[in-house]
């Protein structure tokens, strides 16, 4: 018996030792003088523009990609590579700022900072009041993708269409907590960052009623655009980027942001604590704000860019597409998600599960 348990302990110890061995592997992430390591979402930077940057500045870019903000967080926290510049969604940037992982930088005095749209910068102020931590890269909205043959533009001008659409089983909602709460909260006139439990309960009542009335076809995330292209539903709650993709596949689809306002998301650059080459990092960020480069990246990604010249110089069909260019009036009406405390997150997820279990 004693022998047996000793073997167990030995095995466990072996696991621990080998795990520790991995952790203390030689530090391969050290950057030579003129190299920067950039971490960005997949397919989120024009490769030609990257090459142009290397040619113009002589700085070598080691470019890495990731899929989701959570994956980025894990990659960054693992610490095996020292990233110089990272781009991510605003809530993840907020989280890292709060954790003290982000360095202060003098973005405001960068040569191309003046190219950025004031209204977007004002929205960034909700989590980065002095604009020292983050630099917006692309932004977009949460809105309604709809089939123009079944629904007219007047209907989708208000979130109310989600609660009183005359046809059944024709609405796709988001299968994610906050995005589905947003229309209900906005309909009630509350903030999309509401923390009061009673108000959140009111929002859930609206959503539960919507489900009880058999209005919801499904709660989807990634499947939304495919389902809308296949005309399985007439209205879907979804993000502008996804909507733009779906609209390219099916000409009957259009995108609208209801007049009451919505959520606006911003993907921003930030300089993490691991930065080894700050000068080159700032040079890279200044480069991304240059008009011609922003336009190049816009054509590659087709999301809304905070660089003003992009919306000024884009072709007519893009400018009239609210999925690509929401327009400044809409942007003023929108709110950014702010990070919620653990207690509020728990309330949200409890109410969300109540909704789903009906």
């Amino acid at each position: 018996m004693i022998k047996k348990s000793f073997k167990c302990i030995a095995a466990t110890a072996f696991v621990l030792v080998s795990a520790a061995g991995c952790g203390s592997a030689p530090d391969s992430g050290k950057n030579p003088e003129n190299t920067i390591t950039v971490l960005n979402y997949g397919k989120y930077f024009d490769e030609e523009a990257l090459e142009q940057f290397e040619e113009e500045t002589g700085i070598t870019v080691r470019y890495e990609e990731y899929e989701s903000p959570e994956e980025m967080y894990t990659k960054y926290k693992a610490g095996s590579i020292d990233y110089d510049v990272i781009c991510s969604s605003e809530y993840m940037v907020q989280k890292l700022i709060e954790e003290g992982e982000v360095l202060e930088s003098d973005f405001v005095h960068m040569e191309n900072y003046k190219n950025l749209d004031e209204s977007i910068l004002n929205l960034c102020a909700s989590y980065d009041s002095d604009h020292v931590y983050s630099l917006p890269y692309f932004y977009g909205t949460l809105g309604l993708l709809y089939n123009t043959e079944e629904v007219d533009a007047a209907t989708v001008s208000s979130w109310d269409c989600l609660w009183n659409l005359p046809v059944k089983n024709e609405i796709i909602m988001e299968n994610s907590v906050r995005d589905t709460f947003t229309p209900a909260l906005v309909s009630l006139g509350y903030s999309i960052n509401e923390t009061d439990e009673e108000r959140l309960k009111e929002a859930v009542e609206i959503l539960t009623q919507q489900k009880k009335d058999d209005l919801v076809y499904a709660y989807y995330v990634d499947e939304t655009s495919d389902a809308m292209i296949g005309e399985e539903a007439v209205i879907a709650l979804c993000y502008s980027g996804e909507a733009a993709l779906a609209m390219e596949e099916n000409g009957k689809l259009a995108y609208a942001i209801p007049d009451e306002g919505s959520n606006l998301w911003i993907d921003s650059w930030f300089v993490p604590k691991t930065c080894q080459n700050r000068e080159a990092a700032m040079e890279f960020l200044n480069f991304t704000c240059r008009n011609d480069i922003a336009e190049k990246n816009f054509e590659y990604v087709l999301y809304s860019s905070p660089v003003r010249s992009v919306s000024e110089n884009m072709p007519e069909e893009y400018r009239n597409n609210p999925a690509i260019n929401p327009g400044s009036e809409v942007v003023k009406n929108c709110e950014i998600y702010t990070a919620l405390s653990d207690e509020v997150t728990a309330v949200y997820s409890r109410l969300w599960q109540e909704l789903l279990s009906y």
């Binding site: 095995a11 907590v177 076809y217 499904a218 989807y220 296949g230 949200y348 409890r350 969300w352 279990s357």
Partner: protein, 275 residues
């Protein structure tokens, strides 16, 4: 000396078990019995029964699991009898045929069902072109049961078929000689002799259908919240590790209890020998 070397060879497997099964299980138990501040609490275990959401999900999981198991049994038993009655020379080939669909990833097959069943999917297009009505079972519990039955049917069929191949034809002949009718033979000989297969089939279908969450995610479209989905939501969306672990712990007890009950019925323990 020989014995020592033999034990040494088990080392990698032991490390595997400790690192990837035992430690995660201990972590689940730890999280299940502690609050977010790390202090001991039974709150999250109790939540499995006190929260209406959880009660409803557990009830739905049990209901769909039982329906799925029953349908699998009703489908698989006659098929096993027919296959056994065919007296095929190459029995391995039959088993191969039933294993064949399992070579493809089960998620892919469920995604294929989604395309087949969706509102403007293949089945509805065919029905519409024939002038027949539409089926709209996608995003309902019926679609989830269909997916589960499709996925888990081989787990019911193979143990029953295995048990049947062990019934010797002379036993049946002897029964006939002694004047038993086919109904008597079925209920007095075939069913008792395949009981172990039935029981292991039931366990192998009921347990995965009770704990499944991916099938209900894909074919339920957010309308079917099984207990597996609640756990997944707790971990992935709400960052409620303690609540998720509490539910996982309760679910494990359900699974162990159901296996223990069936294990007691199946005392000879032959049934699980399908692998």
């Amino acid at each position: 000396m020989y014995k020592l070397r033999q034990q040494f060879l088990a080392g990698p497997y032991l490390i595997w078990i400790v690192g990837f099964i035992l430690l995660p299980l201990l972590m689940i138990v730890y999280y299940a019995f502690t609050g977010s501040d790390g202090s001991f609490t039974l709150e999250y275990i109790a939540a499995a029964f006190t929260s209406e959401t959880n009660r409803r999900s557990i009830a739905l999981s049990l209901e769909l699991g039982l329906i799925c198991t029953l349908i699998c049994l009703v489908l698989a038993y006659p098929v096993a009898m027919i296959l056994n009655g065919m007296h095929l020379k190459n029995q391995g080939f039959v088993v191969f045929l039933f294993m064949l669909p399992m070579w493809m990833n089960f998620m892919l097959r469920i995604l294929a069902w989604k395309l087949l069943l969706s509102k403007n999917g293949v089945i509805n297009s065919v029905l519409a072109s024939l002038g027949l009505g539409r089926v709209s079972i996608i995003n309902t519990p019926a679609a989830v049961v269909l997916g589960m039955v499709y996925d888990f049917l081989p787990f019911m069929l193979l143990p029953i078929y295995n048990a049947m191949t062990r019934i010797r034809t002379d036993w049946i002949e002897a029964a006939k000689d002694l004047g038993a009718g086919s109904v008597t033979i079925f209920f007095r000989i075939i069913v008792p002799l395949t009981a172990s297969g039935i029981i292991s089939g039931i366990v192998m279908v009921f347990v995965p259908s009770l704990t499944s969450f991916a099938i209900s995610q894909v074919l339920g479209g957010g309308h079917v919240l099984l207990i597996g989905n609640v756990i997944e939501q707790n971990f992935m969306q709400g960052a409620q590790w303690n609540a998720g672990s509490g539910l996982s712990f309760v679910l494990m007890i359900f699974v162990i209890a159901s296996m223990a009950v069936f294990g007691m019925i199946d005392r000879d323990g032959e049934g699980t020998a399908i692998w």
